[in-house]
């Protein structure tokens, strides 16, 4: 029986979709059977980030409405064994699906997969309610800024009132140089306010944008620190104990390593 994990944040633009794509890919690299479910009906983009846009024939709404069988809508990612995407519909809106239908869908997927990762839309309305309806656990993504933390806090409250207690936190887009200057909230402050368990910290990385545009999740790049962070998060999600990356030393060893690799890539091109 698989586990249904919803990835949510409240605020838009903190990296839910990127996180979903990368954790999913990392789990597949760990030989798990994973399906990524895009619950952002009407504003889908998980397919783009995964580079699977041109393979969509049927979508989530088609499955729910019985237009097609579940198997027909699942897109297999040929790069990774065991990784599938169930895309959202782009021509419909959040009201095309009900929480009960999402629950049913999750139950069906649970039989075939180890992990069902649901990419929640921003906001706290119908789309959010649909996304969390069938979930067993929740991962809250936030950026280390006051507004994102405020929204994450609200989401944690709403999750609790929907019986999704003890969500886990991912602090995304951390810039260690800014934290050091005192220009960005640090991880301790964020956890202090939200009061939930930390699943991982992902550093801000230009490569994320590049890889999203290319449709190649950043976990595929062994040189990327963000990719490493996502791989660790996937392991923690599977129950392994993995220490946090020491980002303090970024500008020494790993920083040099990154410079070395990015320099080499440039030469190649």
């Amino acid at each position: 029986m698989g586990e249904v994990v919803v990835i949510t944040s409240g605020k838009g633009g903190v990296g839910k979709t990127t996180t979903t794509a990368n954790i999913g890919t990392a789990l597949a690299l760990e030989e798990k059977k994973v399906v990524l479910l895009d619950a952002d009906i009407g504003l889908r983009n998980l397919d783009v980030v995964m580079g699977l846009e041109n393979r969509i024939v049927y979508d989530l709404v088609d499955v729910v409405e019985g237009t097609c069988r579940l198997k027909q809508a699942l897109i297999r990612d040929k790069r990774f064994k065991g990784l599938f995407l169930l895309p959202a519909a782009q021509t419909r809106d959040k009201n095309a699906v009900t929480p009960a239908q999402m629950q049913k869908l999750c139950e069906d997927l649970r039989e075939q997969f180890d992990f069902i990762l649901i990419d929640s839309p921003a906001g706290i309305e119908q789309g959010f309610k649909n996304a969390i309806a069938g979930a067993d656990r929740a991962v809250v993504v936030t950026a280390p800024e006051v507004s994102a933390v405020r929204d994450a806090d609200r989401i944690i409250g709403l999750l609790a009132s929907n019986e999704l207690l003890n969500p886990q936190l991912i602090v995304n887009r951390l810039r260690m140089d800014m934290v050091k200057r005192g220009d960005m909230m640090n991880i301790e402050d964020t956890i202090d306010i939200l009061g939930i368990d930390l699943l991982g910290v992902v550093p801000d990385d230009e490569k994320i944008i590049v890889s999203s545009n290319r449709g190649e999740p950043v976990v595929m790049e062994s040189s990327s620190l963000a990719g490493q962070a996502y791989r660790n998060i996937a392991k923690r999600l599977m129950g392994e104990e993995v220490p946090l990356i020491d980002m303090e030393n970024e500008d020494t060893f790993i920083g040099r390593l990154r410079k070395f690799f990015s320099g080499r890539n440039k030469k190649k091109e």
């Binding site: 405020r150 929204d151 806090d153 609200r154 944690i156 409250g157 709403l158 009132s161 306010i193 009061g195």
Partner: protein, 228 residues
Amino acid sequence: MSEQAVVFKGTRNGLHIYLAAEPDISGILHAAEEKLQSGRPFFEGATVNLTFSGRECSKAEQGRLLELFSRYLNPGSVSFNSEPDLSPDVKEESSGIDYARIFNGLDEGMTRFIRGTVRSGQRIYYEGSIVIIGDVNPGGEVIAGGNILVLGALRGIAHAGAAGNVNAVVASYCLQPTQLRIAGFIARAPEGEAGKPPYPEVAYIRQGQLLIDPYLPGKENRKFHTEK
């Protein structure tokens, strides 16, 4: 129907529901349900005191009304006034301060305990005093007729003595509110980065000013309920 079967009016003490004096309760129930439905996100999970007036209700009718309301919100105290009321527009807030309504049980009396953190978007309202065993986060609101104690960090909004009692206090292990209100006084956090206060503090009104002081022995020990 010439006039509305049900009128909702929010007051400091909760929700006042004016019922039309028509004999048939089902029309009223229906109209009330529609209103509750449309205000669902607003009422959801909130504890609200209910006052019904404008129409004599039998026990059975009172039961049906309560049952309906409790599906949408948590009723606090509930009362039914049978006498036909003034129209909702004329009543309420005409005299400014209603002394009979000011909550006075500051030293002892009704207290509500909340276990867990009050998060952004959550609002706790109680007529008496409130004790939060947890934090109050930015965007969270705690409103009490009496005192407010936060056994954690207070970072949201707290309004003590909300019904007008200026002797109410707000105390917290870590007092960093976005905004602090006691009775009719409002104070906000100072501009810029104010560091975490290293000791527990209490806020109170003295001579028309909202003051914040540490309250543990050895720091500065004062009596707070002396202002009359």
